[in-house]
């Protein structure tokens, strides 16, 4: 295609975005828009699926039948959300299994929070409350994302996730109001998950080179730092309400800005975990790879049987 044609197409494309007209799968789109979306949506899908593991770790040890059912349903939702998101990447021409292979060979990233271990039952509370809380803050604006299939998947996901954070906070509240042992368990979980939760919003805006373009394309609606601040502002009073202490000595309310000031994030830790050196990166990827490899004969058998049946029907 001639260069001026592309420029014209790009102009028309941006005009649609500026007028809040959604982009649909078969519409023309710049290559980079497609690539950025595939990267972002598949990372999001991987995060849902890898995210099943730290919580799945406690399903067989849940302390009562109600908690067991809730946790099962929640982890199952995450599988569903991964699936909706992989479907959205498939509309962009990215085959689901290829995308998953990128996860397994380490080329694709996922949310670094899931590389932390879940050591006690309170971690189920902390994950629901903090991790899902942070995820919701990221996700609600994505319901208005410019790419139709992603926006529609996010609407469904946000609707379903509304119980996830609540169940986590309910676990934390119960522990915080429980015996001293339980309260200590809750505080310990908050201590371990607080900073990784803040890291979930990604690098500071100054170190986030894609943000400007993504905001122009309305793939992203708020910057990392805006969302992080919003999360801190909302979550700190919740911790206070149930009598837990946020593990940040620099945390204090700033009358002037109307926001909480908080201490520096350990970005060395963040990058170490993102680059594969977190406490559980290897376990998580190994578990997902094993699931795929162990399932290969099953998927193959189902295809073989379906083919036999089709032949029978045809004859």
């Amino acid at each position: 295609m001639k260069e001026e044609n592309i420029e014209e197409l790009e102009r028309q494309f941006q005009e649609k975005i500026d007028n809040d007209i959604k982009i649909e799968p078969r519409d023309w789109m710049p290559d980079n828009y497609r690539k950025t979306l595939i990267r972002q949506i598949s990372q999001h899908a991987h995060s849902e699926v890898v995210g099943m593991l730290p919580e799945g770790n406690w399903i067989t040890r849940a302390p009562n039948l109600r908690r067991k059912a809730v946790l099962l349903a929640k982890v199952q939702d995450e599988a569903g959300h991964g699936l909706y998101l992989y479907s959205a990447t498939e509309t962009l021409g990215a085959d689901r299994e290829d995308t998953i292979d990128d996860l397994h060979d380490g080329t694709a990233k996922y949310s670094s929070i899931f590389n932390y271990p879940t050591l006690t039952w309170a971690d189920m509370g902390a994950i629901g409350w903090l991790v899902d809380g942070a995820a919701i803050m990221n996700q609600v604006p994505l319901c208005r994302c410019s790419y139709g299939p992603y926006a529609r998947a996010m609407v469904r996901i946000c609707k379903e996730e509304s119980f996830h954070q609540r169940q986590g906070f309910e676990i934390m509240t119960t522990l915080a109001n429980g015996t001293p042992e339980q309260k200590a368990m809750a505080q310990d979980a908050l201590n371990r998950f607080w900073w990784p939760a803040l890291m979930m919003f990604g690098p500071n805006d100054a170190d986030s080179p894609h943000t400007a373009q993504s905001m122009k394309w309305k793939i992203k609606r708020h910057t990392n730092d805006e969302l992080r601040q919003q999360f801190v502002d909302v979550t700190v009073p919740q911790a206070e309400l149930i009598g837990l202490t946020v593990p940040d000595p620099d945390l204090k309310w700033n009358e002037e800005t109307g926001h909480y000031d908080f201490g520096p994030i350990n970005w060395d830790e963040f990058w170490a975990v993102v680059n594969g050196n977190g406490p559980c990166n290897k376990e998580r990827i190994d578990a997902r790879r094993k699931a795929k490899e162990d399932g290969e004969w099953v998927r193959e058998a189902a295809n073989a049987y379906a083919a036999k049946k089709r032949t029978k029907k045809a004859s």
Partner: protein, 249 residues
């Protein structure tokens, strides 16, 4: 012995332990869609366990809850079938275990609709709807794997060979069943085995699988004599309640 309590416990423990086994798959299924499907079945079973154990606790009348029964008995007090505590091994074993059990459970629940005990009839009615779907799902997989590839045939045949020996116990009956039959709580269950055999044989036949009959001297889960696997299941299941006794969660 409180026969009604004993019987409801047997039903409830089957759901509890099989639900536990199935939930071990969550996050590790052969494909996302099937991960979700197995979790749905696990959720149905945990729900059944809850209703049944709650009823058992009522019948027992000692002020216990479903959770007390689920989490705070010792191994010998669990009444589940040995079949349902068998390990997942692979997807083929899991589906075969599910299939052999679902076929039994569906026919049993159909009969329990006629139970003279209102509560049992009501639980059977709700659970039957779920179980019909479980059986459809597991039967289809047994056929697909049996008549799929060479490898899948070998694996599912192997699962059948391993698990078949535990099926005799499905039809175990003792004075608990007899007295409940006499008092009208249980309907006539004498055709259960034949109906199960007819269905199971038809599916296995379609799946091109062969039954290797054997006379196995089985332990008796219904009386609390289990395989070595149950102890490990309980170690996980009861971990929180044992490590932190008497707390609310």
């Amino acid at each position: 012995m409180n026969h009604l309590f004993e019987y409801v416990l047997r039903l409830g423990d089957d759901s509890l332990i099989l639900g536990h086994r199935l939930s071990e798959w969550c996050g590790h299924g052969p494909v996302l869609e099937e991960d979700i499907a197995m979790t749905n079945i696990a959720l149905d079973l945990v729900g059944q366990a809850n209703s049944l154990l709650e009823y058992a606790a009522n019948v027992e009348g000692k002020g216990k809850t479903a959770d007390d029964l689920a989490f705070l008995r010792i191994d010998k007090e669990y009444r589940n079938l040995i079949l349902v505590e068998q390990p997942n091994v692979d997807f083929g074993h899991t589906m075969m275990r599910q299939f052999l059990f679902d076929a039994y459970r569906k026919i049993l629940f159909e009969k329990l609709l006629e139970s003279g005990d209102e509560q049992i009839a009501a639980i059977a009615a709700k659970s039957l709807k779920e179980t019909k779907y479980h059986l459809k799902h597991s039967s289809e997989w047994v056929i697909r794997l049996g008549d799929g590839t060479e490898e899948s045939h070998r694996r599912i045949q192997n699962a059948l060979d391993t698990l078949w020996r535990y099926t005799e116990e499905l039809f175990y009956s003792d004075e608990v069943d007899e007295s409940l039959r006499a008092s009208g709580v249980l309907p006539d269950l004498s055709s259960l085995k034949q109906e199960w055999t007819n269905y199971v044989h038809a599916v296995l036949n379609e799946a091109t699988l062969e039954i290797k009959e054997e006379t196995w001297y089985f332990q008796n889960g219904r009386q609390g004599y289990h395989s070595e696997h149950l102890g490990y299941i309980l170690a996980e299941l009861q971990f929180m309640q044992r490590a932190y006794p008497g707390m609310e969660w």
